[in-house]
């Protein structure tokens, strides 16, 4: 297997240099070179074997999990490492070959490695308590499987909060067939979040105070500014609307740059990860969000990106200037810098509390301007799922009355207690929904805004464009919530549920360049399974931010009494309704989900879907992988608090 191209390797080299040159010599060297300059001594960090040097073969690899001190973000914290580094080595597999990944646990506690997005026998999936008992201290687990796919993926610990401590790494599967695009350079760009605090302390802090890490709240200064712009009455009405709900408009991220240092391939912004290119070359960048909790908005100023893969699956190439990447998602892009100049790869955390960056450059040591952080976004009444029609009927809601609804053919609510449970009211409500969900068509039927929401909407949000215009651009209302409010573990419900696949995402609503949306993703090949749906399952994403409780359908994992049953071979529609006012990246192990984004017959495949606030998203699944599969929110602390289920395919 290839050498791990990792910070730790570099560190060892630097230590070697220190020994050879002596402290004085190193000091002199350090004063001449930037901190990351050691990269010139190693094959570039994040480099993937280039296309012309790939030779399909079985992959045999040892991966060691350790706790150790290492150089990270300018300090030497104690962390958990994979082969002595954070992130772990780039694991490269070949489609059609066999993989044997031997994971040895050198920790004093149980550990595990899950292969995120990889199709394999469930016993190899690496989820303790679901697919195996976990790896005891000193033990080795050999994950052995036939490689049935290609693309960009990653791997990480599935035990406790170990992922936050550093147990994650990139995984690249090279295709057996030639790819539909050419490129000269191939880099992994793994984004992650690091805290020098104990993650358990971080969680305890959130339990004690949900906005512990939010230092971008609205203050008296904001109030005065809003009152000047929109009038005191409107400013007060807006505060009253949020205060009455006991929710905060500035609640974008639970954990922020206040404690996080954001990393690119394990390097903080000052470390400046650099990918080299010669002008005119085509460079493939495999973006992986290996964060515990952080969404990023990613752009390369001055360089359009052609998106070719999402979650490891080829899509019809889309050119864009920026994209949002949810936790655990991957996007592959190709860029072609023509100038003999440096370009900044900019990844802002969605809440604008921090960023990480790297550089694409013709030579090491170059860098381009780092754009300042943009203004932090705010939640709106669209995110809250509020009904802004104030009782008046409007276009998008036709046919949504419960009474005269035809039951879906073959719809079977039995055996779904684990997932659907008490939510039968809304469960039947979706039966007559238009599942084609064509976002462009829907845009025309966005409901008018009236009443109190207009007051709230007229607050300018600190930008030139008022929120009102953003509400008009929100996706169409496609359903209404049933009477079940999911108990005290859930604060609010999405009274009106929207198709938001055509929206660019939080923080990108008002940018003046192109932004990738889920509606842009179109599978490069036709979907394999064209059978009609046998069964629908509706699942609500629920939470109580104030108490920091997270769940599905209001039930935390320890409260559920069964698994979610999929019948082997059946064709399912999984509907996710996000009743909370924040995004949740929902991940199904073992099987891809086809996102119903309007490209019928060419639906994109996702292993992780970021469901927007008050969104109703629809996914098709062919249950063709037997076994037990984890299904959860990939925000690590949400999963830890119980936003987790087990899907059993029998």
């Amino acid at each position: 297997m290839s050498q791990p191209n990792t910070p730790a390797t570099l560190l060892q080299r630097r230590e070697f240099l220190q020994g050879a040159l002596g402290a004085g010599g190193l000091l002199a060297l350090n004063s001449l070179l930037p901190a990351y300059a050691a990269t010139q001594f190693a094959p570039g960090l994040g480099t993937v074997t280039p296309p012309n040097r790939r030779h399909a073969a079985d992959t045999l690899m040892d991966i060691a999990i350790r706790e150790q001190r290492l150089e990270l973000a300018g300090q030497r914290p104690k962390a958990m490492t994979l082969n002595n580094s954070i992130p772990g080595p780039v694991v490269e597999l070949y489609e059609g070959q066999r993989a044997s990944l031997r994971v040895t646990n050198h920790l004093a506690e149980d550990s595990s490695i899950h292969w995120h997005g990889i199709l394999l026998p469930f016993e190899m999936d690496g989820v303790p308590g679901v697919t195996f008992p976990g790896i005891k201290p000193g033990d080795t687990f050999n994950a052995e499987f036939d490689v049935r796919q290609y693309g960009t993926y990653w791997y990480h610990s599935h035990s406790g909060l170990q992922e936050q401590l550093g147990l994650y790494g990139p995984m690249v599967v090279h295709p057996a067939e030639p790819e539909p695009w050419a490129y000269d350079r191939d880099y992994v760009v793994m984004l992650s979040d690091w805290t020098f605090e104990d993650p358990h302390r971080v969680l305890a802090n959130l339990k004690g105070m949900a906005d512990y890490y939010n230092f971008q709240q609205r203050t008296s200064e904001d109030f005065i500014r809003d009152a000047r712009k929109a009038g005191t009455g409107a400013a007060l009405a807006d505060r009253a609307a949020w205060g009455g709900m006991r929710m905060m408009a500035t609640d974008i991220a639970d954990i922020t740059g206040e404690t996080y240092t954001y990393l690119m391939n394990g390097l903080h912004p000052a470390g400046n990860w650099t990918g080299l290119f010669r002008p005119g070359e085509r460079v493939r960048l495999r973006f992986i969000n290996g964060s515990a909790m952080s969404y990023f908005n990613v752009r390369i100023p001055g360089l359009p990106m052609t998106v070719i893969q999402a979650d490891g699956q080829n899509i019809q190439p889309v050119e864009t200037d920026e994209f949002q990447i949810g936790v655990a998602e991957t996007f592959d892009v190709i860029v072609q810098p023509q100038e003999d100049a440096a370009y900044t790869v900019m990844a802002e955390s969605m809440d604008r509390s921090g960023y990480t960056r790297g550089t694409l450059a013709p030579r090491l040591g170059m860098e381009a301007a780092v754009p300042p952080l943009r203004e932090r976004p705010m939640r709106t009444m669209v995110d809250m799922g509020m009904d802004m029609s104030m009782g008046g009927g409007h276009g998008g809601m036709k046919g949504m009355q419960h009474g005269d609804m035809p039951k879906m053919k073959g719809m079977d609510h039995q055996g779904m207690s684990g997932m659907q449970g008490k939510d039968t009211a809304s469960g039947s409500a979706h039966a007559s929904m238009d599942h084609s969900m064509d976002p462009s068509a829907g845009m025309k039927t966005a409901p008018a805004i009236s009443g109190f929401a207009t007051l709230a909407a007229s607050i300018p949000n600190g930008r030139d464009q008022p929120i009102e215009s953003r509400m008009e651009r929100a996706g169409p209302v496609v359903a209404r919530h049933g009477p079940d409010t999911h108990g005290p573990g859930n604060i609010s419900v999405a009274t009106v549920q929207r198709n938001r696949l055509g929206e660019p995402g939080t923080g990108l609503e008002d940018v003046d360049h192109r932004v990738l949306t889920y509606a842009d993703l179109r599978n490069i090949q036709p979907n394999a399974d064209t059978r009609p749906v046998d069964r629908e399952i509706e699942l609500h994403l629920t939470g109580n931010m104030e108490r920091y409780m997270w769940s599905f359908d209001g039930d935390r994992f320890h409260e559920v009494e069964s698994t979610v049953r999929f019948n082997y071979g059946e064709r399912l529609r999984l509907i996710l309704v996000n009743d909370t006012m924040m995004e949740h990246p929902i991940h199904l192990h073992g099987m891809f989900m086809e996102l119903e984004n309007g490209h019928d017959g060419r639906l994109p495949l996702k292993h992780t879907l970021s469901v927007k606030a008050s969104e109703r998203a629809s996914l098709l699944i062919t249950a063709n992988e037997r076994g037990r599969w984890a299904f959860h929110c990939h925000l690590l602390y949400h999963m830890k608090m119980g936003m987790f289920r087990v899907v059993e395919v029998v």
Binding site: P128, P133, G160, T219, G243, G244, P488, S562, R628
Partner: protein, 251 residues
């Protein structure tokens, strides 16, 4: 001997219960062997918050005050502790109380609390049963309301409300209001029937960190009716305006 037999019988019975983690069962949540660990383990948390630890400066006398509470548990069930007290500087404590109890989530924002309160001061000491609700009211008012029944059957009531106004991200203005009332008069405790006292305060704190914030403030304490009469008999003031300096901290 009889105790020994009972003990042995109990031990035998306990040992017959299959230990958690036997290979027999299947975990219904995972479909996996019950002997495997849970994929997501339940966690318990704790917090100890010193809301006020302050010195008050007034015309009549300078005082020291503490007001703290802590909890341990999960989302639904919690054990809690509350303590507060006050005394003139350099004098024995005028009041000192400790509450211990159990709290249960009864709504999205509210916990129902039952417990025991013991007042070590004033002398003679008294013990109460406490019933209350604590939580977050609309518009972000933090509310703690409790009624107390003393071992003599005297009933009293206390309502506290706090609000936080962000001047900047770290400079926070906190209005606070507390009302004490009693059904029966208890002269030896200086408590009259009806509304006893109100405390109205305004504190400006600087959050050096979320867990450590010194503050400056003002507090107006007013005694009413019979309670005010008792105070006059003790030559104590019925209305006090104090500047306060203190610290808010949690662990």
């Amino acid at each position: 001997m009889r105790y020994l037999i009972t003990l042995l019988t109990c031990l035998a019975a306990i040992s017959a219960i299959p230990a958690y983690g036997s290979d027999d069962g299947v975990n219904p949540r995972t479909g996996a062997p019950a002997s495997w660990p849970e994929p997501v383990k339940r966690s318990r948390f704790s917090q100890f918050l010193i809301d006020r630890l302050e010195a008050g400066f007034a015309d009549a006398e300078d005082t020291n005050v503490w007001d703290a509470q802590g909890w341990y548990g999960g989302d639904v069930h919690k054990g809690w502790l509350k303590t507060e007290g006050e005394g003139a500087q350099g004098e024995p404590l005028e009041s000192a109380e400790l509450q211990l109890g159990y709290g249960r989530m009864i709504g999205r924002f509210w916990d129902l609390q039952v417990g025991v309160r013991h007042d070590f001061r004033p002398d003679p000491d008294r013990t109460f049963l406490a019933f209350g609700v604590q939580g977050l009211a609309p518009y972000f008012f933090e509310v703690d309301a409790a009624s107390f029944i003393s071992d003599d059957g005297d009933v009293s009531l206390r309502i506290e409300a706090e609000y936080e106004l962000l001047i900047t991200q770290r400079v926070i203005l906190q209005p606070r209001f507390e009302l004490n009332a009693a059904v029966q008069s208890v002269p030896e405790a200086g408590v009259g029937s009806g509304v006893n006292t109100t405390e109205t305060g305004l504190r400006l704190r600087f959050e050096i960190s979320r867990k450590f914030a010194p503050y400056l403030g003002f507090e107006w304490t007013q005694r009413y009716g019979e309670t005010a009469d008792f105070a006059r008999e003790e030559r104590a003031p019925t209305s006090v305006n104090a500047l306060v300096v203190g610290v808010r901290a949690w662990f």
